[in-house]
């Protein structure tokens, strides 16, 4: 599934459309501790987390995550939004819990 298809899914609201709409999502990845996410995030992951600060953006950029999905109704703070725009990172928000959000993506990838 490409990022451009993910942003069309009803469950997710686009907070920032990045510059990588054509990239393929390999797997959803769930983690809130940034150092662990940084060490373990697989390439091409759609990262589901509740950490919506500027450091989340830095980790996503450094690990080449395809996009960030903020679960549980968490919003990206303003500072982080600026950074997302600056770096062209796709950020989505959802009311779903982390597992449910990741499951939706997983099912869509394996449809």
């Amino acid at each position: 599934m490409k990022v451009s298809e993910l942003v069309k899914m009803q469950e997710f609201k686009v907070r920032n459309e990045g510059t990588n709409m054509n990239r393929e999502i390999t797997v959803p990845y769930c983690c809130d501790l940034l150092s662990i996410a940084m060490a373990k995030m697989p390439a091409g992951a759609a990262w589901v987390t509740i950490m919506g600060n500027v450091n989340t953006l830095a980790v996503a950029a450094l690990t080449d995550a395809v996009c960030i999905i903020l679960a549980e109704g968490i919003h990206l703070d303003e500072h982080a939004l600026e950074k997302a725009k600056e770096q062209g990172i796709t950020v989505l928000e959802t009311q779903l819990p982390i597992f449910e959000a990741a499951l939706q993506i997983y099912q869509k990838i394996h449809e």
């Binding site: 501790l33 940034l34 150092s35 662990i36 940084m38 060490a39 450091n55 830095a58 950029a61 450094l62």
Partner: protein, 141 residues
């Protein structure tokens, strides 16, 4: 990429919004040079952990990066409190980060272990009350 390239960065104190800028900058440069993505990823992760450590524990510092065709060397220097027990600090899960840092998603005690995992060489010199110097090397070939 025949020549040696050196880059100097200053990591400002207490500024989490700018932490990661030096790592991002090195990442882009290595990418442009055509360094293999897995090598770029190793350097970016190890350097970002070092950068964050400096902001959390040491009121900032400096980073010197040297890129040669053989390897990428990163030297992080700070004048922070120093590390009392380096072996303990190297253990996964050990952290002295305060609660406000944990709220940001750091402080899992993975910083130094990640730096070790993603580099081919890691040397830490630290003196209490003087500061810490971390030397890392990632082989390109």
């Amino acid at each position: 990429m025949n020549d040696k390239i050196t880059i100097h960065y200053v990591v400002p104190a207490d500024d989490f919004t700018r932490a990661g800028e030096a790592s991002s900058s090195v990442k882009s440069k290595l990418k442009l040079m055509g360094v293999k993505p897995e090598i770029v990823r190793k350097v970016a992760i190890a350097m970002y952990e070092g950068e964050i450590n400096m902001v959390i524990h040491a009121a900032g510092g400096t980073i010197d990066v040297t890129i040669t065709p053989e390897d990428i060397a990163i030297i992080l220097k700070d004048h922070g409190p120093g590390i009392a027990d380096i072996d303990q600090a190297m253990q996964a899960g050990f952290s002295t980060a305060p609660d406000n840092i944990r709220d940001l998603g750091f402080g899992a005690g993975m910083g130094l272990p990640n730096m070790k995992k993603y580099t081919d060489e890691l040397r830490i010199e630290s003196k209490l009350g003087v500061g810490t110097t971390v030397k890392m090397k990632v082989n390109v070939v």
